[in-house]
Symmetry: C2
Subunit: 715 residues, 2 copies
């Protein structure tokens, strides 16, 4: 069980009060609801797109200034430049960790495991709050702008999800930003759909990959898939694409500083390798294997380090967390500045034989090459080109086509080892952190190494090192995150090279297979570590040999009668932590009858409002009962702990009153016979997204059969 993680109720609880409410609704309610759904999808797209533009703008400008300042200072003194660089990084990272630890603790990390958990049916406290949204946005500007070995993609997914869920509950109550008119999403189920849209929007915005976003949300994040939802998610992604593209067009003329250069495709390599020969399949397969191995190792190492951190480090409070991040920032700065200093510079290639490639004029990072600590003018430092550069530019350089021998093998190996270690260490610190971009950088480094080897060994000139770098990136992400289709589409969308699609598929399949041999995917591992009890889509094998009764054999079922004394409710709720209780009533012939399921959260609302208390222990008159409560009172606010029994204070007189549960119980909970195999029960639970299933004795008779024909009746 997770620390504080609690299940969500994806079921619409069709109790009497709900039905009465529904009956009172006007004719326009359904169209209003549908329109609002689509309108919210639009808003999610707009919001996430704008958030992404804002983050990108901030990050690119901060790093742009940073490198510009550093480069101009090192013309005079390398030491002064070094100091400025360190301080700039430290400042940004410090502000990020401060925001996260002091203001929005749930904003740490990538957030994808938590969102995955949310969409699987587990709520992690705090994960979708307004403050988390703010913390995520500003925190990731600091951490990414500060040059840490992490990306802004995971955080953008989380950002999208936050925006979606805030819309879904009609704004943030705490910050008085809510409106009654839009609070019609009265079940976790509606919110779940919005959050799915938000995830897709996040990826679409991060990579400017709208289709990739849809697929990421559907393959990696959601647990339940519906075709209708796909359409809505798709719409949201399209909106994001339009917003981001418009913003970029607007920024093109330099209005936004360093942001807005480059096309809509982040790392365009459409000029890369056109074709491939059969001989090349072997090195490509090797890239896949390396990706699987390094990816699995990454998952394992981060798992160990994170669990160690949680056990020893992070318990000691936020000061330690802040210190940790600052030290990592220092180390990162020193390594990324210092190591390139030790490398010899190389001669720039002839601009005549390589049109379009320009050596930078100092101070500058324009073009593919960075002049850093080089003696002559027409030289560049290959390690600085990737290490001492913004992430986007570094990846662009690694992917760059038709740039043979740009890097020496030593530089790439040094970078691979150092950056891999930094990425492992940085993972799990108290800053917003995505793993996509580090993964792409690691993967493209060894991919390019393999590419260099192929160029040398096979002596083929149409082999392109940049193409191999792309395959390497795909393989590492596949080996670590274990996605297939979505990753494939994302890789194609960010590089604009469809020709490579079959090759990307190949390395992804290999790296995923190799990785799966060792451990689970990054997000599942992390979810497990954080105590998010994800239900996998398949039952375990041994469940086939168990029956439902065995899964709950030591329980003494705690249930309520239909009309129950308030004092009894209180004592029962105090005595256990169960969240659902069967309600049992007397039938006409005196036999008992299970009439439904009442949720702890509903009971607490009833106890607090006191409106339903009655003097006599007899069934109440249910008519008009829905006017007593607003339906949305019963819905737990997102990401909050919900009420606790200790918050209920009743007088002694009130304790002697009675409460009729009938109008508020869920009258038709799901039931399974006690000797159904647990694998089947698992499937029901998982496929339908349930929270409770009643295990009941075998029925004594069958009232009727329902088949396909019965469900196809027209009204």
């Amino acid at each position: 069980g997770g620390a504080g993680a609690e299940s969500l109720d994806y079921e619409v609880i069709e109790n009497y009060a709900y039905r009465e409410h529904q009956a009172q609704r006007g004719k326009l309610w359904v169209p209003y609801y549908v329109v609002l759904k689509w309108f919210f999808s639009l808003l999610i797209g707009l919001g996430t797109g704008l958030a992404a533009v804002f983050i990108n703008l901030a990050v690119e400008n901060f790093s742009g200034w940073k490198y510009a300042a550093t480069f101009s200072i090192i013309q005079h003194s390398y030491f002064a430049g070094f100091l400025v660089y360190i301080i700039f990084n430290l400042g940004l990272v410090f502000s990020s960790v401060l925001i996260v630890t002091k203001f929005a603790p749930a904003a740490a990390g990538s957030g994808i495991p938590e969102i995955k958990g949310y969409l699987n049916g587990v709520d992690t406290p705090g994960i979708l709050l307004f403050r988390t949204l703010i913390g995520k946005i500003f925190g990731s500007i600091g951490s990414v702008g500060g040059g840490l070995a992490l990306g802004k993609e995971g955080p953008l997914v989380h950002t999208g999800a936050c925006i979606a869920s805030l819309l879904g509950q009609g704004g943030s109550k705490r910050y008085h930003l809510s409106s009654k008119w839009v609070r019609i999403f009265e079940s976790d189920r509606d919110r779940r759909d919005l959050v799915t849209c938000g995830c897709a929007a996040g990826v679409a915005a991060a990579f400017r990959a709208p289709v990739g976003g849809v697929l990421f949300a559907l393959e990696e994040v959601t647990s339940w898939w519906r075709s209708q939802l796909m359409w809505r998610v798709f719409f949201t992604s399209a909106v994001v694409a339009v917003v981001v593209r418009t913003a970029m067009n607007w920024c093109k003329s330099g209005k936004c500083g360093h942001f807005g250069s480059g096309g809509f495709i982040i790392w365009d390599i459409s000029g890369g390798q056109e074709d491939y020969s059969f001989q090349e399949l072997l090195p490509m397969a090797i890239i896949g294997v390396i990706g699987g191995l390094l990816g699995a190792l990454f998952n394992q190492l981060t798992l160990y380090i994170t669990s160690w951190r949680r056990k020893y480090l992070h318990k000691k409070g936020s000061k330690v967390k802040i210190l940790e991040v600052c030290i990592i920032s220092l180390v990162t700065s020193i390594i990324s500045f210092g190591l390139p200093l030790l490398r010899r510079c190389s001669q720039c290639p002839d601009s005549e034989t390589n049109p379009g490639i320009e050596c930078p004029r100092p101070p500058g990072t324009d073009g593919n090459f960075v002049n850093f600590y080089c003696a002559k003018d027409r030289e560049y430092n290959d390690l600085a080109t990737i290490f001492f550069n913004t992430q986007d530019d570094a990846i662009r350089n690694l992917f760059s086509a038709k740039t043979f021998h740009e890097y020496s093998a030593q530089s790439l190996i040094i970078f691979l080892v150092m950056f891999y270690s930094l990425a492992v260490v940085t993972f799990g610190t108290a800053v917003p952190a995505g793993q996509f971009v580090p993964g792409i950088m690691i993967g493209s480094t060894y991919g390019r190494l393999v590419g260099m080897f192929v160029v040398k060994f096979y002596r083929r000139l149409n082999v392109d090192e940049g193409t191999y770098a792309l395959l390497g990136a795909a393989s590492f992400l596949g080996g670590s995150m274990r996605m297939t289709v979505s990753l494939c589409v994302i890789m194609v969308e960010i590089t604009n090279n469809l020709q490579l699609l079959p090759l990307i598929m190949l390395v992804l399949l290999i790296s995923k297979a190799v990785g799966d041999f060792f451990n689970k995917g990054l997000y599942e591992e992390q979810a497990q570590l954080r105590g998010i009890p994800l239900l996998e889509s398949r039952p375990k094998l041994y469940m086939r040999n168990m029956v439902a009764k065995e899964a709950c054999k030591n329980q003494k079922v705690v249930s309520f009668p239909r009309v129950v004394k308030v004092r009894d409710i209180i004592s029962v709720l105090r005595s256990n932590k169960h969240n659902g209780f069967p309600v049992v009533d007397q039938g006409h012939n005196g036999e008992t009858l299970v009439i439904g399921l009442i949720l702890r959260s509903h009971l607490l609302v009833l106890l607090q409002s006191k409106m339903d208390f009655q003097n006599n222990p007899f069934p109440c008159d249910m008519r008009g009962i829905s006017n007593r409560h607003n339906l949305s009172d019963f819905v737990k606010p997102i990401s909050s702990k919900g009420m606790s029994i200790d918050e209920i204070h009743l007088t002694d007189d009130e304790l002697e009153l009675y409460l009729d549960l009938a109008p508020y119980l869920n009258p038709s909970p799901y039931i399974v016979p006690e000797d159904m195999s647990l694998a089947k029960v698992y499937n029901i639970f998982r496929q339908l997204g349930l929270r409770h299933i009643f295990v009941v004795p075998r029925p004594s008779r069958v009232v009727g059969l329902i088949t396909r024909k019965d469900l196809l009746i027209e009204e």
Copy 2:
């Protein structure tokens, strides 16, 4: 209810015999099963890829020869050329309709509605047989090669599904192509997964769009989605991509006649429009609206014509069907040859201002322009360029970039009207027929018209007519088939232009929304017409106000006791058509107890084998019972009607014997309480892919509760 359509059993029936079998399995069974699954995915990819290559090769060569012959003859006499053209077409179409009507009736049409039905849980007789596969392959070569207004993509999906299902049942028994070793897919559920792979392989092969194939299978065809399946489907698609690409490389040097020219991307327009301005969004939205309208109209018209055909024409036997197709072929030939004759030829553009565009040298169809009935040498006939040409070349011309004013508006309008009508009339005839390519041709025609208008009206030179043609194609497909993500990816993959992605998304969203306003998607409409009872993914609204009992209120449940006289079984099975029966037994205290569900098909197998008959009416000894039958005896062969009660012949003595049903019944059928809302029941039925649900009285007590925690136990 459909004519002969019967539900599938996606449930693994875990009866006693099955469990005993499982217990006897060796340790290696699970790995063997997994390996075989993947091996089959590989084989499906290989098979579908090769089938696609074969069909393409045949079609391109037949049409290549046809046009080459016609062009060389019309140098001397247009009339002789006309005759040859007609006869060639007629011959091919006739062979196709002959194969379909005489040998493989289930091969008519696209097959996608039937496959969709299969994956939704309804078996249409004959749809996945070996003969259907053969009929589909050769039939579609004839119908497409014969120049009818239909495509080969739908048939390829069906082909892939057939290959998959034949593998799944271990070959075709009828043709002695089966092997016991591979017959381990003992449930419809395993076969369903393979068929999903087959569908994806079909689309991947048809459009050389591997990711599009995966998404098509998942968005449009399957009803149940699982992440694991996605990976397998993805693998199959990758295999197809490799097979097709290899074959095309092999054919490049001209070894395969007219096949193999062009790249892996079918209609490459990567040279098209780079960017778009805001003003253009309006005409693009208009394209979307036109697409929605024309698409919905297409669905409606084909629905009417098909139902009319079924009622009046096709009842009269196969001669009428053959005649009908031949007449349509004649009309198509006359129109496509005759109409271009009436058009004036235009001057070829200067090859200096338009490098890369060459006017054809007669006799020839090379390049973008077709010289047909032109007086001078450097002229071309714009209508013939699209009408009197192979489909692939026509689409290539319509999509072609940087070819302004290639077509006159009149030609495009004439083509649009004539081809639309031909496509509507051809749809539903007794030949294999896909709707993708006709849809692309129709859509790109009006798209190009709008593009021409934009060029004229907005006077912008960076607007490209070919790009508008692509958007038109997307809009028509979206308006007719109502897919979103998969169509989007397919369009991008076949044209290699990622820049246009947001625009494609836009027109798709609009056209789908407009189309949905009028009717359902093409495949759903057709499935309904053919009596395939598809269950939509959502319950109807009124189901919320019904309870389970009402859905089956007039039934008197027909059930069996545990041990039952053979004579009684026979008479019950004769007296109704139900496919499942509750089995009710006496409990210890004399009360009745529902112990399971027995399927009609299982009863028939038991009656036919006679091995389980016993003399006494007492429960039998169940041990060792699994040795009596082979588990696969109980599995209904795919696409067959299954056994009927009339095939069972028993002597009078045998009729007096008894049968104990306990070892063969499904001991834990799904149950719902009688007052559960029908909407919920619908969800259970649909999400879990069930065939029977028992409606039972409210339980009298709860034995236990199952929550997330209970399902996360480790072994």
